[in-house]
Amino acid sequence: MSSSVIIDLYKKLPKESFELLIHNLSVREYLKDIWRYYELTGNLEYLKEFDGIFEELFRFFFRPFEIVMFNERVIRSIIPIQEILFGREIVDAYTDFLESLISHMRLTFQLFSEPISSPKLPVDKFLDDWRDLLKKFEVGGGILLRDYPFALPENAKSYLLDCFSYWKDFVESYESYKKLIRNTYNRAVEKLLELSRSPGFGSFEKFMESFQDALSGEFDSLLRSEEYLELQGKLMNTLFDHIYCLRRFLELLIENNPASPFATVSQIDEAYKRILDLKRKVSELENRIEKLEVEICSRKSEK
């Protein structure tokens, strides 16, 4: 496979279609390896290639959940972490150190880049003046950093705590979900191994067919089982509740900042809702006018 063909297909095909094709090419390689082993030994056992197939088949379904798991990092980047909140002296000392280092570096750079006595260009002069101007407004951020929990708007704190709580439940449900899928896959492989003992497969095509049948049988039952339905429901609820609470938390931060130039999704939604309601009213009025016009016309013709 040349890389130019792969890139062309990535551009051309629907993204799901491309991904499933690529995963299935790998699955085919794993299946061939397993088949070669079976042909050579006349026996089939749990080979590491089965793990590879599982990864290739289910990455597609697990990835969306794993993307959400990164939310935790997003939250941490917004909220100062405990260590920073309580390690004030270390932070202060480190800040002093960084400031001296930056000043030292700036001076060194200046010494090497141009003679000290040479006149500055207007652009450099302006940038220096601008920096000096901004320095006048600099304040220490340490206190605000430590006070952060007190600064949160009223409802934001509830959304933040709920967001953490749903996230924890979501991660737990996701781990159980992955385990359930994995166990089902393992059961299917066990069935395949049993089949390999008697009556065997005969050909690679027959082996592939048996593998698919074993998987289909197990997954058909799993996906309709009460255990799966309950777990999937919990996974979905905690996932979407987490997303909602995180969004509302971020929205409240923005909405409570009088200098924020951004409208939030909830505010825009409200506008969309009103526009659609007005559109319905306009169309209702148009219909009534049309009916009245017809009525007037028919009355006129009666006269």
């Binding site: 051309k12 379904f61 698919q212 289909s216 997954f219 309709r224 999937q232 429901g233 559109k279």
Partner: protein, 326 residues
């Protein structure tokens, strides 16, 4: 090995049409062709996926077949809902069907027309027919979900989710989310079997064209507007309101006893999305005296695009429509 896929050229739609009306998101299409029968036909497609499955390629185009028989074909295109459409209601979809019907009645100078619903479009078409039976000459329902109290995986999943919690978080339900859900319903056949079959046929240009015509369509998934998703899951799947006679549109009850016009039901025996049990109880319940059910031993999409369906079922179905179009 994959070079031949690069050469595949997939273009949706094979028949010419004109967009006769646009209402922000929704469109009314009119196909070009010679009108030999008085009664026009309006396709009401689902609000999931795109309507060109009915005109996917020349060999399996239902639209082309109808035009060839002289039927005047119109179609509603529900478009790609955006965040701005989050608060659309199913009622808005029904209103737009009525707008289209009125426009076609005036344009074609007829009292009523044939309404042909596909999948969830059948649900909309049936609701419309029950509310305005005088404007519906014939009702055709293709793979229709009408009885939502079924035991297939999709129905069981729908009964176990809380749509409000999803929509309050994400607004609309995106096409990507729907794609993953539809694949996960039958992962081994749709993710493994189907693509292993593709790998076995990478050198066959005809296979590749048909495969990718389908795959482009399958993954061309519009989002479902948030409110519509809530109604769809809650009122149809959770409460089965249409079958129970409790579904209302703009305060009017959707009474299935008003489905007295000729009805043709097309369903697939191996349909894992709308199994036969999603239509047969409805079919038995409606009072229409001229009703017929036809089935094929295929799946949800196979009914529309398989060559065997076109060789048999579609010829009979179109004959049924044509016989009632004058």
């Amino acid at each position: 090995m994959l070079e031949k896929i690069r050469e595949v050229n997939v273009k949706p739609w094979t028949c010419d049409f004109e967009v006769v009306h646009e209402d922000w998101l929704f469109k009314l299409l009119h196909f070009k062709g010679e009108r030999k029968h008085r009664i026009p036909l309006l396709f009401v497609y689902a609000f999931i996926n795109r309507p060109y499955i009915l005109d996917l390629h020349e060999d399996v185009s239902v639209v082309r077949k109808l035009i060839k028989e002289g039927v005047d074909v119109w179609m509603v295109d529900w478009g790609y809902p955006k965040r701005a459409d989050r608060f659309l209601k199913i009622e808005d979809y029904i209103d737009y069907i009525d707008f289209c019907v009125e426009l076609i009645r005036k344009e074609c100078k007829v009292e009523s027309l044939t309404i042909h619903g596909y999948c969830l479009g059948s649900t909309l078409a049936t609701i419309y027919a029950a509310l305005h039976p005088e404007k519906v000459k014939n009702l055709v329902i293709q793979t229709p979900p009408l009885n939502f109290d079924t035991e297939n995986a999709l129905a069981l999943w729908a009964k176990h989710i809380d749509p409000q919690r999803i929509t309050r978080a994400v607004g609309n339900v995106s096409g990507e989310m729907l794609n993953i859900a539809f694949l996960l319903i039958d992962p081994i056949r749709l993710v493994l079997g189907k693509y292993q079959g593709l790998i076995d046929n990478l050198e066959d240009p005809r296979f590749l064209k048909e495969f990718y015509s389908m795959d482009f369509w399958i993954f061309d998934s519009p989002a479902v507007a948030g409110n519509v998703f809530e109604e769809y899951i809650d009122r149809w799947y959770h409460k089965n309101e249409i079958m129970n006679g409790k579904y209302t549109v703009g305060g009017k009850v959707v009474d299935l006893n008003r489905i007295t016009m000729p009805v043709l039901a097309l369903y697939a025996e191996k349909d894992h999305i709308t199994p036969p049990s999603a239509v047969l109880p409805f079919f038995e319940k409606i009072p229409s005296k001229d009703k017929k059910a036809m089935s094929v031993d295929k799946g949800h999409i196979g009914l529309t695009v398989s060559k065997s369906s076109h060789a048999k079922l579609w010829n009979e179905a179109i004959k049924w429509i044509v016989e009632r179009s004058d």
